[in-house]
């Protein structure tokens, strides 16, 4: 098991450069960081936990998982909207994180890196299931889901309306859906979304705008009622 019973080391400052292999003729950068010896493990910063993990303290991985598992699961749920698949896929995400963490170079923030893995895994899953919506937005609007349409015209409670909106999100293509999830549900900035999706900020803005317009068209009955 990863939970080690070994006595925690007394830790002071720590050079993360020792975990970064020297590349070519470039001078090795040494970053001195405070490993917060007084702070309990579960409250240490991400970079501190990662450094500890990379130095062999693998049990700290648990705190990273517990810190991000709900957010990862939520992204998966928001994109797939399928409760049963969430935990399996989230575990695969963290297994990937665990395998790649020894090579993590702090070139981006840990959480955007985890989100990137999450989005990629979710995309793989969608691809695997071949459930990508290949039809155009016009086609969606021409034949909206009857049940959804009925509920949109009769809903009263905001919680149910909220549920309907997130369900309607499934009707728009994944490449427009994911930026909306990251922006409007996860509250990420354009820069962070661009980092997660590995694209330019302009692309993020454009996809968000188009995705929102599509969603508005889908939700027209609900919005008119409100």
């Amino acid at each position: 098991m990863l939970e080690s019973n070994s006595k925690q080391k007394q830790m002071g400052t720590y050079s993360i450069a020792q975990n970064i292999p020297a590349t070519g003729g470039r001078a090795q950068t040494t970053v001195e960081m405070d490993l917060e010896p007084q702070v309990p493990l579960e409250k240490k910063r991400d970079d501190v936990l990662i450094t500890l993990f990379q130095s062999g303290e693998e049990h700290v991985f648990r705190y990273l998982v517990e810190r991000y598992m709900d957010r990862v699961r939520n992204i998966i749920y928001s994109i797939l909207r399928e409760q049963d698949a969430v935990d399996d896929l989230a575990q695969e995400v963290f297994i990937k994180v665990y395998e790649a963490l020894p090579r993590f170079r702090f070139e981006s923030s840990f959480y955007t890196w985890v989100y990137r893995i999450t989005v990629n895994k979710t995309r793989d899953e969608l691809r695997r299931r071949k459930v990508r919506r290949m039809f155009s937005m016009d086609a969606v609007l021409e034949r909206p889901d009857r049940e959804l349409s009925e509920r949109l015209s009769t809903t009263q409670r905001s919680s149910e309306a909220s549920e309907i909106v997130t369900r309607s999100l499934q009707l728009i293509p994944e490449k427009f859906r994911t930026p909306i999830v990251l922006k409007d549900i996860e509250g990420m900035s354009y820069e962070e979304i661009a980092d997660v999706l590995q694209c330019r900020i302009g692309t993020v803005k454009s996809r968000l705008s188009r995705g929102r317009s599509m969603l508005r068209k889908v939700l027209k009955p609900l919005l008119e009622e409100v």
């Binding site: 549920e163 549900i185 919005l223």
Partner: protein, 498 residues
Amino acid sequence: MKKGSDRDWRLKLSLYLDDALSPDEKRGIEEYLETHPDAKKELNDLRQIRSYLNSASRVETNRSFWPELSKRLSEKKREAANLLPFPRKYVPLAVALSTVVLTFIGYVAVTERGQMMQFLSETSQDVQRAYEENVLKGSVLPIFSKIDKDQVLQFALLGTLPLDANAQTSLRVDDKNENGYRLEVGRTETPSKTKITVEDLLAEVEPTEAQAAAIDSLLEDAKTRIASSAFVAENNALAIDPEIGQLTRVLVSNIAANLDPSRRERFDHYLRGRDAAYAIATSKVHTPTAAPPPHVSVQLPRIGREPQERQYLVITPDTMVLSKLFADMRELEVAHQRVRENREIQRELQLVIRQFEELQRQKPIHRSIQRFRVVGGSGFVTIQVDRDNVQMEHDSLAQWVIPRIRQAGSRRIDQRPPVGRGEEDRRREFFPSFPRDSMFERFWEDMERFDIDVERIDSMFREMRGRREREYRAVMDSMMMRWRENQQRGIRPDTLKQ
């Protein structure tokens, strides 16, 4: 509003919603919204949607998430530890090395494939090389290049082919077992007293002109094939086309297939009268066939692959190899012209046999490759060929005849005396796939003693083909018991019904 500007407008509205516009842009949008209620409605809709999304239900916390994940991670670590004989950090290096090695092997395999195939297919390259060199130099002698059609017919009927003028040495074929057959080269113990000639055959069967022509062309074809089926080399090697063992049955079958039912019956009678190794299958005796085309030669169906690809079993006292030999028969025949009569062939052959005999005395030989087994004995060399191993594209014509049990005294192969060990041991060791023959051996003496009609046993024996060995043994035991009882009571066996 045009579509292009519509998209720009929506982009700005989206940015305005996220508060991502400069103060000037923001002011411009707000002024526009004041005068355009539709645009304002759209902005409100987007705000509403965002608020719904913000308040969307989150997935519930799963308290068993970490324990389950931890278990999966531990399993993965264990698998990785079990699979890799080195630390994980060396995986890229190992992959790179493997790629280099495999690429090298692939390169060698592609560029040197001819040699590699040769290497893989040979158990002894030296023998192969020496033999092929001999073939090319003409120092290999075709054993049967001077046989006539009478001898071919005799071979088809009796499975024996004399190797010299006095018939002191012969090639014998035993095709009576469904698992395979045996080829034997050795001294002739009891030369056949029955004279078999094509003339007799034609006189007894009385075929039409077309049928006679067909029989003649079949015999000619078989003669050519036999001529290129066995060679002896000066380096004490013997090369035999293992498929020659099938030739007897194929030839008799094809003769039968070219006859009409009445003449086929005569041919069956002729076979029985000559104590042939085959009889016409009961189901085929009256089967009508198309008459053979007049004046057109009929060829034997190819038993295996094309002649150019024929494989020979090359055996020497030291080695054994199954290999393709490209024997140029014309060149060999020229070389053969220099050989007086068959005496030199005879001498070489006797030398090979003697060496096998000598080896058998020192240590029992049991040499085998790919289910070919060779055993030497007192004055003979036997090659056991398992049927699965040879490219036997059994033509349906080969099924026109079936092996029959011949009279005592004509079973030449099985009568070989034991060498070194007890006969049963030797048979078990060298011919384990011949259960029916060896079982039949057990009853042979009884049958002779009780004067049981061998022909009748033969037909019963044929009916039992395909049954399992155990069933066969039980039936035979019970049959023999009944025969013995009835013999004691003086009842003739032909009144019995099994």
